[in-house]
């Protein structure tokens, strides 16, 4: 936005048109306070019908006084569906594309609905997607993993493993976040998208199950003194390749994973095998993993020279960017939502760091003038999403809600001004700036950036 920055008081907005009319918000709020859900419902109905006061003089909530069908009848039997689905009332909670972001749906992305998620685990069907040349549902009995060296001396014996064999090996299950390097990339220059789904939704967190790559390299007799890099390659048409530093492999953190949230990976996420590289951007978590090669230099693949490189103001590109630095975002309340009432709200959000654990999260409701520590919800795990919350009594005036995370390396999440002062605004990747949400007097929340 080229607009001259204006004080927020001059930018207060009228009540949103739509499903709760401005005039009805106060009444809805009052009825909510009284626990009169029937009146709330009728207020919505009235709003839809074009307004008009609904007179109610009842003994209480009809949903209490009149037994519903589900209280008076016989329910559904078991196994109406061998694999269950969310409630029909949850149909709005979906992965979504950002219109116009890509020209094809095979080289594209869908965003996870962070505004609707609780805790730290992403339901598997809502895990964000990023495909470079379309996704496949591969027959696991035909899938192979090859481990080799870029020369004969880097690995004693190049080996091939079937899925049966990989799944016989001792496994570990760990919770980790996965974030695309381009998450929040549309917002480097200015506000471009309305909700946290689009600003931060290339982010998910799951329990991954698999075998440490270190074990496979041991079995093959890899020379990791000279072989300081690992090439990971996918089996799909894109043949995705990324260089993984051996330092991360040696820590035992890098996995060949087949499990996700207690079941096998979903096809969109790499079934039957993907690399898990905790703390590192998602493009390195190669899907449909077919090959690992030990090498003595980085590989300069397409997605580490032409893409996933960060353009700096001096015209140089930063290559091999991998670590996702400490970042956080408030998901409730967040852009595109409408608060129904003044009074108590629990500000809640997610924090994470590719360098380790989240140590602290601070929250501001006045656009960063004053901050207070948020509560961190257990568990707080290594290279994993952490849920935070803070109490807030909203007084009905416009407010700017922000969060700021600090990790156990001492790194502090920067403001846009601090980030741009070093990196400019054309990096595309690795935007971990503090997010601002403007809550206007109407209760509507908007994505804003501060001068």
């Amino acid at each position: 936005m080229p607009n001259t920055p204006a004080p927020i008081l001059s930018r207060r907005r009228k009540a949103p048109e739509g499903f709760v009319r401005g005039a009805d918000v106060a009444r809805v709020a009052a009825e909510l306070r009284n626990g009169r859900r029937d009146l709330l419902r009728s207020a919505f109905a009235a709003a839809l019908a074009g307004g008009g006061a609904a007179a109610h003089a009842q003994a209480g909530d009809p949903y209490i006084l009149q037994l519903p069908a589900h209280g008076k009848g016989l329910g559904n039997p078991v196994v109406t569906d061998g694999y269950g689905h969310p409630s029909q009332h949850e149909r709005n909670v979906q992965r979504r594309q950002s219109p116009g972001l890509t020209q094809t749906r095979q080289a594209s992305v869908s965003f996870a609905p962070l505004q609707s998620l609780f805790g730290i685990v992403t339901p598997t069907g809502l895990h964000f997607e990023r495909h470079h040349q379309g996704w496949w549902d591969i027959d696991p009995t035909q899938h192979r993993l090859m481990v080799n060296g870029s020369d004969d001396r880097l690995l004693k014996t190049p080996m091939v493993f079937t899925m049966d064999q990989l799944m016989r090996l001792p496994s570990v299950s760990r919770f980790h976040f996965i974030e695309c390097g381009a998450n929040t990339g549309m917002e480097w220059g200015n506000v471009a998208v309305p909700t946290v789904q689009y600003t931060h939704g290339m982010l998910s967190c799951c329990e991954f199950t698999g075998v440490p790559v270190r074990l496979l390299l041991e079995m093959c007799g890899a020379d990791v003194k000279r072989g300081r890099f690992l090439l990971a390659e996918g089996a799909d048409g894109s043949g995705m390749t990324r260089t993984i530093p051996m330092e991360l492999v040696e820590r035992g953190e890098v996995l060949v994973a087949y499990g996700c949230n207690g079941e096998m990976l979903r096809p969109e996420n790499g079934y039957p095998l993907r690399l898990v590289v905790p703390g590192v951007q998602g493009v390195s978590w190669v899907k449909y993993l077919r090959r690992l090669e030990v090498g003595d230099q980085p590989y300069a693949t397409k997605d580490e020279t032409l893409h996933y490189v960060d353009l700096m103001p001096d015209g140089q590109h930063r290559q091999y960017g991998s670590i996702q630095e400490c970042k956080s975002v408030v998901t409730t309340p967040s852009g595109g939502q409408v608060l129904l009432d003044k009074g108590y709200h629990s500000i809640s959000g997610l924090a994470w760091s590719g360098r380790g654990k989240v140590k602290r999260v601070d929250v501001s409701t006045d656009g960063g003038q004053n901050w207070r520590p948020a509560r961190l919800q257990e568990p707080v795990l290594h290279k994993c999403l952490t849920r935070f919350s803070a109490d807030w009594a909203w007084d009905g005036k416009s407010a700017i809600v922000q969060s700021r995370a600090i990790d156990d390396s001492g790194y502090v999440q920067p403001t846009y001004r601090q980030l741009r002062a070093v990196r400019g605004s054309r990096s595309i990747y690795h935007n971990n700036a503090i997010q601002s949400w403007l809550v206007s007097e109407s209760g509507e929340v908007r994505n804003v950036q501060l001068a």
């Binding site: 709005n92 909670v93 004693k156 471009a192 041991e218 032409l306 015209g315």
Partner: protein, 347 residues
């Protein structure tokens, strides 16, 4: 099994350079040695030092033929197209060839960043084309074709002359003239593979009180674009502390959702069956847009049956020389798509 060998190697090397495989014996029966043929089939990556390059060669002229039949439909005749993917060619100069820095990367008035403006290593282009191109038939080009088409792209960008023949022997000559060959740095804290650990480049302090002056909003989404991502009321849960803002322009209750869902169903089918890899709604991608197809056959009384046959049997020549392969999809889906295309591919 290799465990005894690696254990032996560890002993011979004093355990210094091989990971100890003490417990390897307990994984008996898991994995086997790869055969030379298997390694040759899969180990095709090409590094910046040209390790992995196969023997072969291709001229700029040969590359033009490959380009025009297999690449131009997405990337444009001169690699300049921005229609499907980012442009490959453009934005570089002879001065860049001399300096090894793309000057336009610091020119904020220059809109795009083409492949050749960024490319630091010619091996990358070779490796990527052989593994992932063409878009709908990856790994179908021979090494000679890859050399040729890479030579053609480099020629379009003024990197190599018209009579150039690219081969494993001449790759270094092309590399020495890449416009942005000096344009990369690994001196940053996001790369754990760097030899020297770097301090984070952005340093902030966690101030708690009176940290900033009154905030001023520099950017937000303008009102006219409120609904650019659809109706946000439909993108939030229907219960809880808040609802989604209704950003639709139409008054509430105007069009029932089911109708629009029905209209979207064929488009979803087109996605499900991979049609949208090559076809958009309007205008050409790899193949013609669905509406273009509908218009072309609008006069046919048997348009639905004709398109149904075309979808299932494939064809070439109607829209150009890129063939459409036969599609295996349920007959009912093919028919639904044919009907939708014939009726104008309304979304």
């Amino acid at each position: 099994m290799c465990s005894w060998r690696s254990a032996l190697a560890a002993t011979l090397l004093g355990g210094a350079s091989a990971i100890a495989a003490a417990q390897g014996a307990s994984y008996a029966g898991i994995g086997r040695a790869a055969t030379p043929a298997e390694l040759a089939a899969w180990d095709t990556d090409v590094r910046a030092d040209f390790k992995g390059l196969p023997k072969g060669s291709g001229s700029v002229a040969q590359g033009q033929q490959v380009w025009e039949s297999q690449c131009a439909s997405c990337h444009g005749t001169f690699g300049e197209s921005n229609q499907v993917f980012q442009p490959i060619v453009g934005g570089t100069s002879e001065a860049d060839v001399k300096s090894g820095h793309s000057a336009r990367l610091t020119d904020r008035s220059y809109p795009g960043r083409t492949t050749l403006m960024k490319l630091p290593t010619v091996s990358t282009l070779w490796d990527y084309v052989q593994r992932a191109m063409p878009w709908n038939a990856p790994k179908s080009l021979s090494p000679d074709q890859v050399y040729a088409v890479v030579a053609y792209m480099l020629n379009l960008g003024g990197v190599v002359p018209d009579d150039f023949v690219l081969s494993e022997a001449t790759m270094a000559r092309a590399q020495a003239r890449l416009p942005n060959r000096n344009g990369m740095t690994t001196a940053h804290a996001l790369w754990p593979g760097a030899r020297v650990a770097m301090r984070a480049d952005v340093q902030a302090a966690p101030c708690m009180q009176r940290c900033a002056s009154e905030p001023r909003i520099a950017s937000t989404i303008p009102d006219h674009a409120r609904d650019a991502h659809g109706n946000l009321a439909e993108q939030n849960r229907l219960v809880g502390a808040q609802r989604g803002a209704d950003t639709s322009r139409a008054a509430a209750g105007a069009a029932p959702a089911t109708e629009s869902n029905d209209a979207r169903a064929p488009w979803a089918l087109a996605g499900k069956h991979g049609c949208t890899a090559c076809h958009g709604i309007e205008g050409p991608l790899v193949g013609p847009g669905f509406r273009d197809v509908g218009r072309k056959h609008a006069a046919r009384t048997d348009a639905v049956a004709y398109l149904n046959d075309k979808i299932r049997a494939g064809g070439a020549g109607t829209w150009g020389n890129v063939p459409m392969p036969p599609q295996s999809l349920p007959e009912s889906d093919a028919l639904a798509l044919a009907r939708w295309i014939a009726q104008g591919a309304v979304q």
